[in-house]
């Protein structure tokens, strides 16, 4: 991106063939009844919803829409502009959010592609394409923001390691098959952590769901009691886990934010509709809110484009942190404003699961926005990252 580019070029509109692709996705959404799928998932119980998600995911995969961001060798290879069009049209078409496949498609895939062995890629990437789900086993009860203090231990044993520890806040673990696990193989701090691919069906693994504020059981605890993990399931060298986790997290953060930014831009229609329906007396205030958020959403989209441009030559952890910081707070502000503008009508809606993070079901959207300032690095920690790595401030009391 240069200063002479227009915003449209940033969003990839000038690439040829994109209109055709958009139309293709649109048509596909209509034929496959994307909206109907989202409604079916909202009405389903958790297990049925998990099954429906897999079914929908497989249809997307079949069409090449599920992982366009993967390398061509693995069935992706779409340009960023194409990824954007696919994401945007799926969202506009009302397609359901695939939260249970999220870690597999982004974080696990990035880990395997960036740091995995050829064998690990061969084993796991095709399995993800056929619906295998992953979760993340990073946080522990005593190690949240201070992840480097994690205690889960992997002790060398014949042919691999024996792992014992307690992970928590693992989203979707109850429906996952595999887990990205950080465990201690060396001394204290960042230098003693290794990265593993844990099969959740291994003897000694127990998953316990935690009921959250939305009434769902998305978060889970994972207990590992002397679980055997083979040596070939370690990613990278022993005690290299921290570096790998950092590299792949930022990889993931940048790409998912592309999708989120499109969702956010599309989601503005709900706010527009709301403001259009306001009584004349409240219209002015509504327009002011609309103007303010339109500006912020556009700024966020540009920021995403800039970070992704920069990350072509290698991911920038700090820049990716900024994206999540901006997105999460913007999402909370927009859904709060939406709920406020919708007035009490915004309350009378039983939907506790929505197709996207912004659906116009304001109470559900508002509630769903809460977790964004916490998961994947609490905003408090991300601010430290910005202060230290972007601004070069001295390290504070975070170590």
């Amino acid at each position: 991106m240069s200063l002479h580019d227009t915003g449209q070029e940033v969003a990839g509109e000038t690439e040829t063939g994109l209109d055709d692709l958009a139309q293709e996705v649109r048509k596909w959404c209509a034929v496959r009844d994307a909206t109907g799928w989202a409604a079916r998932m909202a009405a389903a119980d958790p297990q049925a919803r998990a099954d429906l998600q897999r079914e929908w995911f497989l249809r997307l995969a079949e069409q090449g829409y599920a992982y366009p961001h993967w390398p061509a060798a693995w069935g992706g290879g779409r340009s960023r502009a194409e990824q954007l069009v696919i994401a945007r049209e799926l969202i506009r078409g009302g397609a359901p959010r695939l939260d249970l496949h999220f870690v597999a498609l982004y974080h696990a895939a990035a880990t395997l592609i960036v740091a995995g062995t050829p064998e690990q890629r061969e084993t796991h990437l095709p399995a993800i394409r056929t619906g295998r789900r992953w979760c993340q086993g990073f946080s522990e009860p005593e190690a949240g923001s201070d992840l480097a203090s994690l205690r889960c231990r992997a002790v060398p044993a014949e042919g691999g390691y024996r792992v014992t520890g307690h992970k928590t806040w693992s989203t979707g673990a109850a429906h996952a098959d595999m887990c990205l696990l950080l465990a201690r193989t060396g001394g204290p701090g960042r230098a003693g952590i290794s990265y593993f691919l844990l099969d959740l069906a291994s003897p000694g693994v127990e998953v316990r769901p935690i009921r959250n504020a939305s009434g769902q059981e998305e978060f889970c605890e994972i207990f590992c009691n002397d679980v055997f993990v083979p040596e070939e399931s370690r990613v990278g060298a022993e005690n290299e886990g921290w570096r790998i986790a950092n590299a792949t997290l930022s990889e993931e953060r940048g790409l998912t934010m592309l999708e989120r930014s499109e969702e956010m831009a599309t989601g503005m229609q709900h706010l527009v509709r709301l403001v259009a329906g306001l009584a004349p007396g409240s219209r002015e205030e509504g327009l002011r809110i609309l103007g303010r958020y339109s500006e912020r959403v556009e700024a966020f989209r540009l920021l995403v484009a800039r970070v992704l441009d920069a990350s072509v030559e290698g991911a920038d952890v700090a820049a990716a942190s900024i994206l999540k910081l901006v997105y999460s707070e913007l999402l909370q502000d927009i859904s709060d404003a939406g709920l406020s503008l919708a007035g009490l009508d915004g309350h009378v809606d039983g939907t506790s699961w929505t197709g996207t993070w912004q659906s116009g079901h304001w109470f559900a959207d508002y509630l769903g926005s809460w977790e964004w300032t916490i998961g994947g690095g609490a905003n408090d920690v991300l601010r430290n990252v910005v202060g230290e790595r972007v601004l070069g401030l001295p390290r504070g009391g975070t170590r």
Partner: protein, 322 residues
């Protein structure tokens, strides 16, 4: 106005608090979601400490006792409509303020019939139509309204309903702050308690200052209802609006300090934040409350602590001193 509650009232508050805690505290709200019978335990505890003997319309002392009870009920997320019950009519119908466009009453199922009024004083009979079905406010229910040709609602009832609801939110906010302080003292990350980080300390201090201001505003509104020389509606609306603004922020920040635990129902802060939503948003959301406040000020003026004549007197005194 006295800036502190009289000791007997505070004493009463402590007995309400221990009665609710004995009955199960915030756990009652959690339990009531699975089985509404738990709500009866809260009602029983509040009845034993004399909730049904208080009529806040009697005088300022009674109103202060009612306010203290509502504050403590808010702090314990008591799963019952305390403000409505305290303001019930002679036929024992609880009272609620509603919006006539989208009428919702929290814990509406606690009574077959309600007496409801809009902020402008139109009176209705209300009965449950359906639950809103939101996890955020599990007991809020949509009600059907039948217009009654009674006299308009007494301004005192409307003002007390707003002020008592503000007290209830104040209690919720104070509890959320307590939970935040407790958690940030106990939770250690990077080798020290979260409360050792300046940014956390500053945030907690801001929340505490906000709640102090709210507490005073709530007391002032109550005092104005009984002793003010002018209509106290702007004061009651101001207290409610400030409660909506301050407590929403306290809850969000406290949840953020708790990290993911703040969103897990095993932790009290999550339950407290969800059950506080109706009081935060009924009968009108913050933005609409502010609209009503503006209109009320325009129509009736806003005397405040420093009414023009007082201000005038103060200026004169200063002049003399000079």
């Amino acid at each position: 106005m006295r800036t502190t509650m009289p000791e007997p009232i505070l004493d009463f508050g402590r007995s309400v608090d221990s009665a609710l805690q004995r009955a199960g505290g915030i756990g009652l709200a959690r339990d009531a979601e699975a089985d509404y019978a738990a709500a009866d335990l809260a009602l029983k505890a509040l009845s034993q400490v004399g909730m049904y003997d208080i009529d806040p319309r009697d005088d300022l002392d009674s109103a202060a006792a009612a306010a203290e009870l509502c504050r403590v009920a808010g702090a314990q997320a008591a799963p019952c409509p305390v403000v409505g019950i305290i303001l019930r009519d002679p036929a024992d119908k609880p009272f609620a303020l509603v919006s006539d466009e989208c009428p919702i009453i929290d814990h509406a199922a606690a009574a077959p019939l309600w007496r409801a009024a809009t902020l402008s004083g139109d009176v209705y009979e209300a009965r449950v139509v359906q639950r809103t079905g939101s996890n955020l406010s599990p007991f809020a229910m949509k009600v059907g309204l039948t217009r009654l040709d009674d006299e308009p609602a007494s301004p005192q009832d409307v003002q007390l309903a707003l002020a008592l609801s503000a007290f209830q939110l104040l209690g919720t906010g104070q509890q959320a702050l307590e939970l935040a302080i407790k958690h940030t003292r106990e939770r250690e990350q990077f080798g020290r308690p979260l409360s050792g980080f300046q940014v956390i300390r500053h945030s907690v201090a801001d929340l505490s200052v906000g709640l102090e201001g709210l507490a005073l505003l709530c007391r002032f509104a109550l005092w104005q209802i009984f002793t003010g020389s002018s209509d106290a509606l702007p004061d009651a609306l101001a207290a409610k609006h400030e409660a909506q603004r301050v407590v929403r922020n306290v809850l969000r920040m406290s949840q953020q300090f708790h990290g993911a635990a703040g969103l897990a129902d095993e932790y009290d802060i999550s339950v407290l934040a969800r059950h506080a939503q109706p009081a935060l948003r009924l009968p009108t959301d913050m933005t609409t409350t502010l609209g009503h406040l503006r209109a009320a000020i325009e129509e009736r003026g806003f005397e405040g602590l420093y009414a023009p004549e007082h201000a005038h007197r103060a200026a004169l005194t200063t002049g003399e001193a000079r």
